[in-house]
Symmetry: C2
Subunit: 316 residues, 2 copies
């Protein structure tokens, strides 16, 4: 099959017109939301989406609403032309790349009331401020998935999940997909989007796609490129220890403290700094003390200036 | 024109199928969300919607998510058959009444994790609990319009606007309307929905429809039926004093404290209890001290056990 170059759409209205034209032709629409700097993990999401939809849109947008001012928005890697090349090589291809300049530009001037007179940021919600509000943008509507957003990544990244749920709501309303595919590497994100879709009655089927790993087991991530060779080697401790914990559980070790200590110790000894290592129910994401039902072991850890996440489901 | 009886749809999926069938025929869809017990105010919203859309859906649903357990959910008036009779008499009629039994029934069992073991309610968000969470339902996603939801009605009814924004999001996702009409009687609600639609990129045009009043000036409300004849007479102090304040402003009285005192005194002397009387910017809903641009004077006051709201725009 000949390589197919995707159409690039940057305008919200044009994006929606494209989708509606496709739907009017009886075609089902798949969406894979990404922040770009695509790797084999993204490619696997796109292949998965291809099997569920007639036409396929991939969004490439680094969402300032999900980064705190202290986080790595400014150093988040990007390579738009490389991304398009990769997408063109995927069998079956991608029909549209939605690459908006700014999803929060509502055509007005900067909202002065978003900033207090001393230049500090007033947050309407009180507690949390993202890079978006930091710019004094007038956007003030946030989608909160209140229980699932609390734990794990939500604890160390308080603006993250409301930013994700909000931008995904926007993308769903613009692209109007029938199916959207998310990676299970971002396990908590995937469950939050599923719950949001249920609770807000979005007409979108959400599919979770399995983690793709490098040959040595490291979970693929756009952030891996920021690891030094030494850090990358040390970071293998995450997937290795998770694997060991899973094997141990499958052999009968159901005590979560023992399993967590195993992982925390392995990562710490390799020189990583564990943010969290939690064994939680696969749906409620509530902590489990003994494994009596399907769980997922989720880890976040820093190696140098890079925060990595990984997880493994344990289905016993 | 012959009277047209609306089709009654109770199922979400059936509702969406109807809308999509209409859209596939090239028809535009209007939605008027209501909580039933329809009066002339609702009828005017429906007439307005008729002018903007080819086919019309009216939703009738008393949303537990916008009532606090201490509020009047259990006594909120209803008369479904009377509502259908009224809708049937409207020239041009209404095509569909969407009357779901429960918009928060997701087909699972009651979510035990929503209740703490002592039977008290755990709120994921921490601060606010509605009649919905009080029942231990698993719903946990809320749409928050963080600045606009704070003042006026939001102060005395902390769960109200997140409940409204959330249920309207659900209705938009189910009915997929092109146009939705809201009453300017609920001025803050109207502005919140407008802002939500902008911020979340809903493809819905939101139209605000003017307040409809009884012959003596009382703003129409489903709650008026719960006023005793004496309370109803006293409640006229709201619209009368608002009118006087507007006249006074139009004659040059731009000092908001003076205008507010006029209204507060009139309502108090009539035996009402003022919840708030605020003069605010029409878009940002921020309090104004001197009228230098278009404002709206918003009032909420209790007469007996009934809380009434009203407002008047002052365009000088």
């Amino acid at each position: 099959m000949a390589a197919k170059e995707p159409e690039i759409i940057r305008d919200k209205d044009q994006m929606r017109r494209w989708s509606r034209a496709m739907r009017a032709q009886g075609k089902t629409i798949g969406l894979v939301p990404t922040m770009g700097y695509l790797h084999e993990g993204h490619v696997s999401l796109i292949r998965e989406a291809r099997t569920h939809a007639d036409v396929l849109a991939v969004s490439i947008y680094v969402n300032p609403g999900q980064f705190a001012p202290s986080e790595d928005l400014s150093t988040y890697p990007s390579d738009f032309h490389g991304d398009i090349r990769k997408l063109t090589q995927i069998p079956g291809g991608v029909d549209v790349v939605f690459n908006p300049h700014n999803l929060y530009d509502y055509g007005g001037s900067t909202d002065a009331s978003a900033r207090a007179s001393n230049g500090a940021v007033k947050s309407g919600g009180g507690e949390t401020v993202s890079c978006l509000e930091d710019k004094g943008v007038g956007h003030e509507t946030w989608v909160r998935v209140e229980r699932l957003e609390k734990g794990m990544c939500g604890r160390s990244r308080p603006v993250f999940f409301r930013g994700v749920a909000t931008v995904v709501s926007k993308l769903f309303n613009i692209v109007e997909p029938d199916v959207a595919v998310f990676g299970k590497k971002d396990y908590q994100q995937w469950r939050i989007i599923q719950r949001m879709v249920r609770d807000l009655d979005f007409s979108v089927r959400v599919i979770g796609s399995e983690i793709v790993r490098e040959h040595d087991g490291l979970a693929m991530s756009s952030r891996n490129v920021r690891l030094s060779p030494e850090e990358r080697e040390k970071a293998l401790s995450i997937s290795k220890s998770l694997s060991e914990a899973r094997s141990s559980a499958e052999k009968g070790q159901v005590n979560c403290k023992v399993l967590r200590d195993l992982v925390i110790q392995a990562i710490s000894e390799a020189g990583g700094r564990v943010d969290y290592a939690e064994i939680v129910d696969q749906e409620s994401l509530e902590s489990v003390e003994e494994i009596r039902r399907p769980v997922v072991f989720c880890v976040a850890a820093w190696f140098g200036k890079v925060r990595l996440i990984d997880n493994m489901e344990i289905n016993i």
